[in-house]
């Protein structure tokens, strides 16, 4: 296999990453995310009709029946309809919790044929807020733990490289969700944490090799060592990404509407995670002037523990 001089392009890649991140952050800052019901609170009813229906007609019918604030859309097929209602501020918590029942009753009344309830969800505003806080906290906790673990197992510079790469992946994925206005719900949050896990996996494998090569007696500039390490792990990185993307594509196409967001977030994350373990993590290492001395350990051969330089 020919060698790819990865680090030759590191400046371009770095600039590219920064530009993309700026776009992601500005989109997040300007229009936030399209928060799903799990986080905003509100009511959702999914129903199935025997024949294909027109969501516009249902919307008008609901209007006429005295509902307002509802959003009607197809969900999966043209026989399945999803109706959402934001939390009603002028109603008590108790009455808000009953909205789903009366909404479904209205839909049954308005329809000529049988309407089947597929799913109905109500999330109180307090719960939604809590979930959002917990989610954010979880992401930060995950990043913090990674920082600790990697600096313990490797070295602080690697840990920073890994965490910057993870931030990069999470922000980028969030940015895409924000730009395209895909709905961000609990399963997407779970996917985001899985992205952290996956991208970390990649980064660790690469870092592991960089460390090993730095330690082996060969001479060479850090750039060359890193380049060689990246080339050595390239095959593995691509194959693992390929198998993971294969199963995720299967999940996206076959897994049904409910885990579509989950699959999309993971696919984006896996692609960007593969890129970031090559360009972001290694780039950060070079920026911080990783040197052989950083990795020289007074301990016997073996890579089980590192001390700070």
């Amino acid at each position: 296999m020919n060698k790819v001089p990865f680090m030759k392009f590191r400046k371009i890649a770095g600039m590219g990453s920064i530009v993309l991140l700026v776009v992601a952050i500005s989109s997040l800052a300007l229009q936030s995310l399209n928060w799903g019901l799990d986080f905003t609170g509100g009511t959702l009813v999914e129903v199935s009709y025997p024949e294909s229906v027109n969501p516009e007609q249902i919307r008008l019918d609901l209007d006429a029946a005295g509902w307002n604030g509802h959003v009607v859309q197809y969900f999966g097929s043209d026989r399945d309809i999803l109706v959402r209602m934001p939390p009603q501020k002028d109603l008590s918590d108790k009455d808000n919790a009953r909205l789903g029942d009366s909404l479904f009753a209205s839909l049954v009344e308005l329809s000529i044929g049988d309407v089947e309830l597929r799913r109905s969800e109500f999330v109180g505003p307090a719960v939604g807020e809590e979930l959002a806080n917990q989610g954010g906290l979880g992401l930060l906790a995950a990043l913090g733990m990674v920082l600790l673990y990697v600096s313990f197992r490797f070295q602080l510079k690697f840990a920073l490289g890994a965490v910057v790469a993870l931030f990069h992946d999470v922000l980028f994925t969030l940015g895409i969700f924000s730009l395209i206005r895909w709905e961000f719900d609990l399963t997407v949050l779970a996917a985001l944490l899985a992205v952290i896990g996956y991208s970390l996996n990649d980064t660790i494998v690469v870092s592991d090799r960089i460390r090993e090569n730095f330690r082996s007696a060969r001479r060479g500039k850090p750039v060359d060592v890193i380049d060689e390490s990246l080339n050595q792990t390239l095959g593995r990185t691509l194959i693992t990404s390929a198998t993971t993307l294969l199963v995720l594509t299967a999940l996206l196409l076959l897994g049904g509407e409910l885990i579509r967001g989950f699959a999309i977030a993971l696919i984006i994350g896996v692609v960007i995670g593969t890129y970031s373990s090559i360009y972001v993590a290694a780039n950060v290492l070079l920026l911080m002037n990783l040197s052989r001395e950083d990795l020289m350990v007074p301990v016997k051969e073996g890579a089980d523990q590192d001390s700070m330089p």
Binding site: A97, V123, A141, T243, L246, V247, L254, G255
Partner: protein, 616 residues
């Protein structure tokens, strides 16, 4: 050892390959009685006379289980059984259920199939929030009245200038001078141990001497616990009425209750039934010469009792009821606490009635089915009715006040009485914080979609690995299969719940599990490139990849654990399968593949290894 683990994996994964039977579960409604053989026979009779095919039936753990051929028969059977049992004049719960068909020899080994979450079975999930803040405030207000009364009563009155509730858990009294304050302080410290008493000078010209009574965190917790426990009990009592086979009612955190009702579709009905509360009435037993118009007839322990029509007080005045022990005799008793007005009412009614008996009546709204002929057809009518029963009849031995006790009870009696008293006591408000309903058809669809995703994802990876690594790919594929099997086996033996995101986790595991093998194989390739002899290359490849695999997987596991700890319901399901998947994949990829490779090429000299495109 690898083989041993694999065999165990097969055994514990096996129950999942037996499709469950459609079944109907019958149990006695209340009173906790076991279902008898005769009652089960009545149900079976009703089914066979309507030509419903019965697969099997059994009595297990106090309830009857009838297995049926398919879902249609199951739906047809339920009303038939209800109708037949209705004639027996007793309460029964007839619930749709699915019964595992695990063979006996597997069950003897403790192997059970995985449980399905609500998103796969269909059903309702409620997250109820108990309004504990107002429960605490109510209690504080009661205390305020009580303390005021104690200041006013007795020979040494304490004049206070005012009182207020400062924040959620602090009561403030103000006094005109220092002496009054210190007298008040010592009296409070004597009788009300639950308060932390501090002084504070308040900007009030007439009464600048403030006394703060802060309820300790422990007492606040106690009130919260009581409020939540009470609602928990109420819900448990109600859930039986809904006819749910395996309900889950569980406290979550400080003030929430999770209610999972698999199979329930009518959420409106479920909410109505869960929302009903019971109440209590305290009444004196009527004297023998009481006029007919002033008494209410009841029965207690099989005997008729006549109670006074005049009410002493209702359950909303009861704060607490706990089982305790009589310090003298060591026998169980129930300690009851009323609010201050309740104490007043109780005192007024009992002070001249020492020696007479007082009854506690438990009142509950329930629903029952009735069958009626309408237009030549028998229809089922569900109607509400009020059930009243005397749960205690005890002799008054002294004038009672805010707290008193009921003695002379057996252990179980005391516990049941306390439970009923609590169920009928002032209920802290409860509201639905979250509700998720999944229709049965969607659940079934989710299972099918999930299974297809796993199968196709698995197939794709298998083909990919074979194409890329040839014989070694085959080894990796066998390891992957073993991994999937082990994952299912571990999930089953931990009785973890499988959810839709959980299935997604399995799919993801399938994709990522080959990573370890890929790492090992690329190391072996590298060694081969360095012209290392094949056997040594294999050894070196496994060894050198090991540390990398360990580091990479442990960090991912770390993230999965965090995901588990922050996640709720479905997200937890994902985290569980992901974590277990990481552990099993490490095992199968390192140990399993190694065993396979050794089996194939071990012990004999080889010149070439078929591992990918570059032949050496």
């Amino acid at each position: 050892m690898v083989l041993g683990v694999f065999v165990l994996g097969v055994i514990y994964a096996m129950p999942n390959f037996y499709p469950p039977d459609y079944a109907i579960q019958i149990s006695r409604g209340s009173g906790g009685l076991d279902l008898s053989e005769r009652e089960l026979d009545v149900a079976l009779e009703a089914l066979s006379s309507s030509n419903v095919q019965i697969k099997a039936s059994s009595l297990e753990g106090g309830s009857g289980l009838i297995r049926l051929e398919n879902a249609d028969e199951q739906l047809r059977a339920q009303p038939l059984i209800q109708r037949a049992l209705h004639d027996l004049q007793s309460e029964y719960v007839v619930a749709l259920n699915s019964a595992p068909t695990t063979p006996d020899w597997l069950r003897d080994l403790g192997a059970e199939p995985m449980k399905y979450g609500l998103d796969l079975r269909g059903g309702v999930h409620f997250l109820m929030e108990v309004d504990t803040a107002s429960a605490v405030k109510d209690r504080l207000e009661g205390m305020e009245q009580d303390i005021k009364r104690s200041f006013r009563s007795g020979a040494d009155r304490i004049r206070y200038a005012g009182s207020s509730i400062v924040d959620g858990q602090t009561l403030q009294f103000v006094f005109a001078d220092e002496t009054l304050r210190s007298r008040a302080r010592s009296r409070i410290e004597e009788t009300y141990a639950q308060f932390l008493v501090t002084t504070e000078d308040v900007p009030n010209a007439d009464a600048p001497y403030g006394l703060n009574l802060a309820m300790s965190d422990a007492s606040v917790r106690e009130i919260e616990d009581f409020a939540v426990q009470q609602n928990l009990q109420t819900i448990r009592n109600r859930v039986n009425e809904l006819g749910v086979a395996e309900p889950l009612v569980q406290r979550l955190g400080r003030q929430r209750i999770v209610v999972d009702l698999p199979g329930v579709q009518d959420t409106a009905e479920a909410k109505k039934i869960l929302g009903k509360v019971a109440t209590l009435e305290f009444r004196m037993e009527a004297s023998p010469d009481a006029s007919r118009g002033s008494i209410l007839p009841y029965t207690y322990e099989g005997r008729a009792v006549r109670l006074e029509r005049d009410l002493i007080l209702r359950g909303e005045r009861v704060f607490d009821a706990q089982v305790g022990f009589d310090p003298d005799s060591g026998l169980p008793q129930v300690n009851i606490t009323l609010d201050s007005e309740g104490g007043e009412l109780m005192h007024r009614s009992t002070r001249y009635n020492i020696g007479r008996r007082m009854a506690v009546v438990f009142i509950e709204t329930k629903t029952r089915d009735r069958y009626e002929m309408r237009g030549g057809e028998e229809v089922k009518i569900t109607e509400p009715y009020v059930e009243e029963r005397v749960i205690s009849l005890a002799t008054v031995q002294a004038a009672l006040g805010v707290s008193f006790r009921i003695t002379g009870l057996q252990g179980a009696e005391a516990r049941d009485l306390a439970l009923l008293l609590r169920a009928g006591a002032l209920a802290a408000d409860m509201f639905i914080a979250e509700e998720r309903t999944v229709g049965a058809s969607l659940g079934q669809e989710n299972i099918e979609l999930g299974a297809i995703s796993v199968a196709i994802g698995f197939g794709l990876v298998v083909i990919f690995m074979l194409a890329f690594y040839q014989w070694f790919g085959l080894a990796a594929n066998i390891a992957l299969m073993a991994n999937l099997l082990l994952l299912v086996a571990v999930m089953s033996s931990l009785s973890a719940t499988l959810t839709l995101p959980g299935i997604a986790g399995i799919v993801l595991t399938v994709g990522m599990a080959v990573d370890a093998n890929v790492l090992i194989f690329s190391r072996i390739k590298e060694e081969l490139k360095k012209s290392t002899p094949p056997q040594m290359a294999i050894n070196a490849g496994f060894e050198r990849a090991f540390v990398t695999i360990l580091d990479a997987n442990l960090t991912t596991l770390l993230v999965a654990v965090i995901l588990y700890s922050i996640g709720t319901g479905p997200v937890k399901g994902f985290a569980i399968t992901l974590s277990i998947g990481i552990l099993t994949s490490m095992f199968t990829a390192i140990m399993g593949t190694r065993a396979l490779v050794n089996l194939a090429v071990g012990g004999r000299p080889i010149k070439r290894l078929a591992i990918g495109w570059q032949r050496v």
